[in-house]
């Protein structure tokens, strides 16, 4: 079964029609669909193509998929300073409702990379998916905030990027190209995810950034872990503007998302 690209449907949805998404319909009616929750910030741009590949692979295998952008990101309404944790959870709920309506499937699974995975895990209580597949999710907010702060500090003095190092002031309040509102920063700094009451499949890159204590909380409640053969350069300054590409991830995630429940 081959999914035609021209069948992919770009659309705006949500209460104010402010959320952008692309729906990948299957060639035949399906019983389960997949909602792809994007990461935030530069991770979102870098993984755009990979998300499209995954959605295409799912649709080709007969599983409808919806990609979407959170409020304040991608093509959705709003500015990056408007992004809030709770709004992301609400957007996920709205996107799940849209997917259920578009596909006619009551049963859905969630996929997310990095903060997209974290949001999928946190939104489970409202969305009620059958399963969540999370790739390198951020499970420990304080660590994540500290790492992005350090990366931003390295970025501003990187003379391969700038002719002269920039001051801390002009780089303040931003993470790798995106202004971050103080409230979102605080919400992430307080983030400590607990395992949801649904089936969780963690996919980890080799050399994961997730600490073992965070993983163990999830594994202890039944989460399984699939480890990729290579690392993913999420936080490498030199590769900040290079696309995240992993055929292994697409194959692995596609398989896990299509497992019978």
């Amino acid at each position: 079964m081959i999914a035609r690209h021209d069948a992919e449907r770009p659309l705006f949805f949500g209460a104010d029609q402010g959320l952008f998404g692309i729906y990948h319909p299957p060639a035949v009616p399906a019983t389960q669909a997949v909602l792809l929750c994007p990461p935030l910030g530069q991770d979102h741009i870098r993984s755009h193509r990979l998300y499209r590949q995954l959605a295409t692979a799912l649709a080709a295998a007969g599983v409808p998929a919806l990609r979407f952008d959170f409020h304040g990101s991608g093509d959705s309404a709003g500015d990056s300073t408007d992004i809030r944790w709770n709004r992301c959870l609400a957007d996920t709920t709205a996107a799940a409702a849209e997917l259920r309506q578009l596909s006619g499937c009551e049963h859905i699974a969630l996929f997310g990379a990095r903060l997209g995975g974290s949001i999928a895990l946190a939104a489970a209580a409202n969305v009620k998916p059958d399963r969540i597949v999370a790739w390198d999710p951020v499970l420990n907010g304080p660590d994540y905030v500290a790492r992005l702060d350090a990366l931003q500090d390295s970025l501003r003095i990187d003379t391969r990027r700038f002719n002269q190092a920039r001051t801390a002031e002009v780089a303040a309040g931003q993470w790798q190209g995106f202004t971050v509102d103080a409230r979102l920063r605080q919400q992430l700094a307080e983030l400590r995810l607990e395992p949801p009451a649904v089936q969780v499949r963690l996919i980890e890159s080799a050399l994961p950034v997730t600490t073992s204590a965070d993983r163990q909380r999830f594994i202890a409640t039944g989460a399984t872990v699939t480890t990729l053969s290579s690392s993913t350069p999420w936080e490498e300054l030199e590769r900040l503007e290079m696309a995240i590409i992993s055929h292994e991830l697409v194959q692995s995630a596609s398989g896990l998302l299509r497992e019978p429940t």
Binding site: R49, R161, Q174
Partner: protein, 274 residues
């Protein structure tokens, strides 16, 4: 202003977002072209910021993905890349013409987007203006002097240069956007021809071009009479990087583009308010 998502093009293969001001008809439309392989939102969402600012000022906008980039598919036509780009941008102009009544267009592109804007501006009579962000420029004797003289006068820099040559670099190669500049004479002639046809041209260089552009004066060294033409504007943001990763730099760029458009290609509308 509202934004609408479209699948469009001669093969229904292109995906884009149109920003449509609340006017019945607007003469000038803005089309944003992909920067390298980044999808239509642009590096760090630059294209979204530009499009929304300009739409708020009454300009219909379209940010879209060229064939095989972002969310757009191939057209299955087996065209050479240049023809493919011309046909895709023509489809984009048709869409804005149909949706907002636009009859003339301004192309905005960064890096490979500037290359594509140049390509289309050479041949499509509907193009009234172009904003080239880190577009073509050529090393001149002045560039070489400014580039190497400070290094020669600084022993630390000489040491670093020798050190780099002696030790294998672990630095990751920068993304290659496949931009190959045509010969200077050709580009100079094509720009002169655009100006003769009445196009308005804005050239913006960032500090990220320091390997081939390092002073405002270099623009005249490269392009001669083109630089002095009243239809030409030059901006140089030496502190900024190639993709405007800092919010303040991005805002400065968006402000500059807005000012240039309002001055050089003011919107002519019919009905409603912008």
């Amino acid at each position: 202003m509202t934004e609408q998502a479209f699948r469009f093009g001669r093969a229904g293969h292109l995906v884009g977002i149109a920003g449509l001001p609340s006017v019945v008809s607007a003469q000038t439309g803005i089309i944003l072209l992909n920067a390298g392989l980044v999808h239509r939102i642009g590096p760090f969402r630059l294209h979204v910021a530009i499009a929304r600012r300009l739409s708020a000022r009454g300009y219909p906008t379209l940010r879209f993905d060229l064939s095989t980039l972002g969310d757009s598919a191939a057209s299955d036509e087996s065209l050479p890349r240049a023809q493919q780009v011309r046909a895709d941008v023509a489809d984009a102009m048709d869409l804005l013409g149909k949706q907002a009544g636009c009859t003339r267009f301004v192309l905005i592109g960064l890096c490979s987007g500037a290359e594509n804007a140049h390509l289309v501006a050479c041949s499509d009579p509907r193009v009234a203006g172009a904003i080239f962000l880190d577009g073509f420029a050529y090393r001149t004797p002045g560039f070489l002097l400014r580039h190497y003289l400070p290094k020669l006068a600084n022993p630390v820099r000489i040491w670093r240069f020798v050190h780099r040559r002696l030790r294998p670099s672990r630095q990751v190669a920068a993304p290659d956007f496949g931009v190959v500049a045509p010969p200077l004479g050709q580009v100079r002639g094509e720009l002169a021809e655009m100006l003769q046809r009445g196009l308005k041209l804005c050239f913006v260089y960032s500090g990220g071009t320091s390997e081939y552009f390092n002073h405002r004066r270099q623009f005249r060294e490269c392009y001669g009479a083109v630089a002095n033409h009243p239809g030409t504007t030059l901006e140089y943001f030496k502190a900024a990087d190639h993709t405007y990763i800092l919010e303040g730099d991005r805002q400065q760029l968006v402000d500059t583009i807005e000012r240039w458009l309002l001055l050089n290609l003011p919107q002519v509308t019919a009905g409603g308010s912008a």
